[in-house]
């Protein structure tokens, strides 16, 4: 088995951390709205695991594809995207059909990685500003 690239590991950890934080927020919102029960927690866990797993598998595919030729890399990525979409379909279908999962709690966490990516530039900017200020102090 090939070694996992450091970039893929770092980005996956960032996405996983952000999904965790947003999941806690979502649980809090359900709790405040008075709609929390164990199905919300189960649905959130299932969907968050699927979202992070999907991102990690995409990272592995990208790592693998970068070592190939252009045409082969594009084909690998297309095949991987279809298979991952199928996997997500199965996960969400199970979440929607099984009574132990709350449908909304299954669907919402799938978009948490997108939110994490949207927030990323802001965090990078803040980190850079922080470094700059430290540099000025020295």
């Amino acid at each position: 088995m090939s070694k996992i690239d450091e970039t893929v590991k770092r980005e996956s950890v960032y996405i996983a951390a952000f999904v965790g934080v947003l999941s806690v927020l979502m649980q809090a919102v359900f709790l405040v709205a008075g709609r929390w029960d164990y199905t919300v927690l189960c649905g959130n866990l299932l969907s968050a695991a699927a979202a992070v797993g999907n991102f990690f598998l995409m990272g592995l595919t990208v790592q693998k594809a970068l070592g190939k030729g252009e045409k082969e890399a594009a084909d690998t990525m297309r095949l991987s995207q279809r298979l991952r979409l199928l996997l997500l379909f199965v996960v969400v279908a199970v979440g929607a059909a099984a009574p132990c999962f709350h449908t909304l709690a299954v669907i919402i966490p799938l978009f948490f990685p997108r939110v994490a990516i949207a927030v990323r530039p802001l965090m990078d900017k803040r980190n850079k500003n922080g470094d700059g200020k430290e540099g000025e102090g020295k």
Binding site: G59, V62, L66, A73, M77, R78, A93, F111
Partner: protein, 94 residues
Amino acid sequence: MLELAIGIILGCCALGAGSAMIAGIGPGIGEGNAVAAACEAIGRQPESRSSVTTTMLMGCAVAETTGLYALVIAILLIFVAPGMFVNLLMSTIS
């Protein structure tokens, strides 16, 4: 007559779900093109591999969200919409 109406509702929901999943093809093509371009870029400048991989991972994840929207619509059409429409039909009849 009622069975026909329910059949039409179920059929339309299934057709809608199938049509929505056409949008799942686009991100695959886009991601493929992005990775091909990244391979070319890394071939030219091997030292930029890390930054190119990071940018591409983020780009691919953003592109994939489009497919996820389609997936969610399809799931709702398959699992949620039929029951809702059949209930609406029943309440209208009664």
